[in-house]
Amino acid sequence: MRYIYHLIVLYLTVHFLWLLFREKKFWKQAGIVLVLIMFLLRLFLVE
């Protein structure tokens, strides 16, 4: 179950990284970073 959970978090993290790469507007990129931080913390098992 834990592996499935982390796979989902990893998928979403990669997805947000891709969005960050595609996005051109500065403030939208900053917004993506805010969400990305939560997913990175989860990915690094800070729970």
């Binding site: 990284l17 960050l20 970073v33 990305l36 800070v46």
Partner: protein, 391 residues
């Protein structure tokens, strides 16, 4: 065949594209690095909550144990916690003192640390568990914005203490049931499944909190405890405050201690443990283990519902304008003036209460009399501060 103008145009377009791609990559790496940096800094700060405070037991310590020594199922779990034993040379009563059953009630925790770092027992035995719910110290109450820790100034610099949550960390015990039925069959809200002071007498195969409660009951049996004192705090708007809550088998001790405290100018009300309120230390230590059981409550503005901004100052100085107003409106059960109710005064009350209970035990049951030396005098803690009695 492309003309010279077309070639130049294509080269410029390619250059512009490379420049754009380069800017995009730079921005991407900047933001990705920013996310990593913030994750690292916040993650490190968050995980620091799980580092145990340093407790330096005094020379009177005769044995340093862990709760898992009494109940091995707790070994290597977040519920395991240090146990300090101070045994005298002569036979007398055996007292258990627990602090930190609710880690958001700092006076009980700090008092038990002060005791562990100072006392020497000549007659009888004192067993201290400063962080009864160790898991509760590893997180903070959500949506409260509470400080993670607070400092106490000592002669050698500041000592920092954790301000935890009332309940076990959900990372260690999850999920909460919709309705919690505790080991004695009391029906409670789901979150109370993580409340140590609703989980007595515990269950060997229960959830983590019930296992901790079971471990404390095993300790009571193994150390042949005669009386247990559970140190707590409650919000100033809560009626059971500045109180000695007692099991009916300890009414004589509680009443004697109250008189002694009144003689010293400290008002404590007496509250009998309700027989139908199950799972609490002052009920189950008496019913299930057959020992005398009391619980001390002091007023703590930092975990009340009427408080303003939760700050380190609110924990230490206990000053809050909203509680002042509530007191003026007659909504509190304790006096609350501009001076507030500082942590120092609450520790003084706990120390004075413990001393009065020790004296009362000797008067009520002379065979169980105890002699505890180097017990920090409440009056000196009041004048010199808590830090003067921390190593």
């Amino acid at each position: 065949m492309p003309t010279r103008d077309t070639r130049e145009h294509e080269e410029e377009a390619a250059k512009s594209l490379r420049s754009f791609a380069s800017l995009r990559m730079t921005k991407f790496f900047f933001f990705a690095a920013l996310a990593l940096l913030v994750s690292f800094l916040t993650g490190r700060e968050f995980l620091s909550m799980r580092a145990d405070d340093v407790i330096l037991p005094g020379p009177g310590l005769t044995a340093a144990r862990a709760l898992s020594d009494y109940f091995p199922a707790l070994k290597n779990t977040p519920g395991d916690t240090p146990v300090y034993v101070f045994a005298g040379d002569r036979e007398g009563g055996h007292m258990l003192i627990t602090g930190g059953a609710h880690p958001n009630e700092p006076a009980g925790y700090v008092t038990s640390v002060v005791l562990a770092e100072n006392i020497r027992v000549a007659r009888g035995k004192v067993v201290i568990i400063p962080r009864a719910n160790a898991s509760g110290f590893t997180h903070s109450d959500p949506q409260e914005g509470s400080p993670q820790r607070f400092p106490i100034a000592t002669a050698r610099g500041e000592r920092w203490f954790r301000l935890g949550s009332r309940v076990t960390n959900p990372v260690h015990q999850w999920p909460d049931p919709t309705i919690y039925v505790n080991p004695k069959g009391q029906t409670l809200a789901g979150i109370e499944a993580r409340n140590l002071n609703r989980a007595y007498p515990g269950k060997a195969g229960g959830n983590l909190t019930e296992k901790v409660a079971y471990g404390i009951m095993a300790l009571i049996a193994a150390e042949r405890i005669d009386i247990g004192v559970d140190l707590h705090e409650s919000a100033p708007e809560y009626p059971v405050i500045n109180a000695i809550v007692f099991h009916e088998n300890s009414a004589d001790i509680a009443a004697t201690a109250q008189m002694e405290l009144q003689a010293e100018g400290l008002e404590f009300r007496l509250e009998a443990s309700p027989p139908n309120l199950r799972g609490l230390s002052h009920r189950e230590w008496g019913d299930a283990a057959g020992i005398r059981a009391v619980l001390l409550e002091t007023p703590n503005a930092s975990h009340g519902r009427l408080k303003g901004k939760p700050t380190v100052s609110l924990i230490l100085d206990g000053r809050d304008k909203y509680y002042e107003k509530a007191a003026r409106l007659g909504r509190l059960f304790v006096p609350f003036g501009p001076a507030g109710i500082p942590l120092k005064d609450r520790v003084v009350r706990h120390l004075a209460g413990l001393k009065a209970i020790l004296t009362a035990l000797g008067e009520v049951d002379p065979e169980k009399a105890m002699e505890v030396e180097s017990l920090p005098p409440a009056s000196r803690v009041g004048t010199e501060g808590i830090g003067a009695f921390l190593r």
